[in-house]
């Protein structure tokens, strides 16, 4: 069965530090990849997505992610975090070309940014 692994469950950073959150998936075929963010008390919002083309994807709020097919990875990065980035981040995968757009989510990484 397909699965998504997020290695870091909790990350604590100071403002201006760089961020990298790991995401690996298990699926042998072509995939579409997503990162969602959930701010405290809010619903999930799409940060960025990858379907095809340039494996370096830029999203909102200065986030980017790199798809490395050989490593089955889609890590999220941000050069300099802000206190307002405190949230939970979810990686999600969808096998391309079908499946009724059902997403498989990772367990999430809770990020706390201290001033």
């Amino acid at each position: 069965a397909q699965s998504v692994s997020q290695h870091n469950h909790h990350v604590i950073l100071s403002e201006a530090a760089s961020l990298e959150l790991g995401c690996n998936y298990s699926y042998g075929g072509t995939v579409n990849l997503f990162w969602y963010v959930q701010y405290p008390g809010q619903h999930l919002q799409l940060l960025l997505k990858y379907f095809s083309g340039d494996p370096l994807v830029k999203g909102i709020k200065g986030f980017e992610a790199e798809f490395i097919k050989s490593k089955f990875s889609f890590n999220l990065r941000k050069p300099s975090v802000q206190w307002s980035d405190t949230a939970e981040y979810f990686c999600a995968v969808k096998p391309a070309g079908g499946g009724y757009n059902k997403l498989i989510f990772g367990a999430g990484t809770r990020l706390a940014v201290h001033p």
Binding site: L44, K49, F51, Y100, F105, G108
Partner: protein
């Protein structure tokens, strides 16, 4: 500015009680989903629907039922509430297929926090 609307936002149920979580979307999305979110577990798919009158089980359907009589509405029914159903429930919708990849992505509701005691 509606998107996906879920009601109620909070609910406390006693063991054995029943309730319906409401979900409505106004984006004319064919696909709709119910997920539950538990700490450290991410989101698990309960049921999904690909259009009015068509529903199917997801990863964790036991104890739940759904219906889809219209494109807009996708209610989730708990018949006999159990403590294991304490969770946060999210409804989501998406447009059909990758032809809409420019705007593809789930739109989530704000969630229902359910406690079963």
């Amino acid at each position: 500015n509606a998107g996906v609307t879920q009601t109620p936002k909070f609910r406390i149920l006693k063991i054995g009680q029943s309730m319906t979580l409401q979900c409505t979307q106004d984006m004319n999305h064919n696909y709709m989903y119910w997920y539950r979110q538990d700490p450290g577990m991410g989101l698990k798919l309960i049921y999904y629907s690909v259009g009015a009158g068509i529903t199917d089980k997801g990863e964790v359907p036991n104890g739940y039922n759904v219906s889809r009589s219209t494109t807009e509405d996708f209610p989730l029914r708990l018949e006999l509430a159990a403590p294991s159903q304490t969770s946060v429930y999210f409804c989501a919708s998406s447009p059909v297929g990758e032809a809409t990849r420019q705007n593809y992505g789930y739109t989530f509701g704000s969630g229902t926090r359910l406690t079963v005691v």
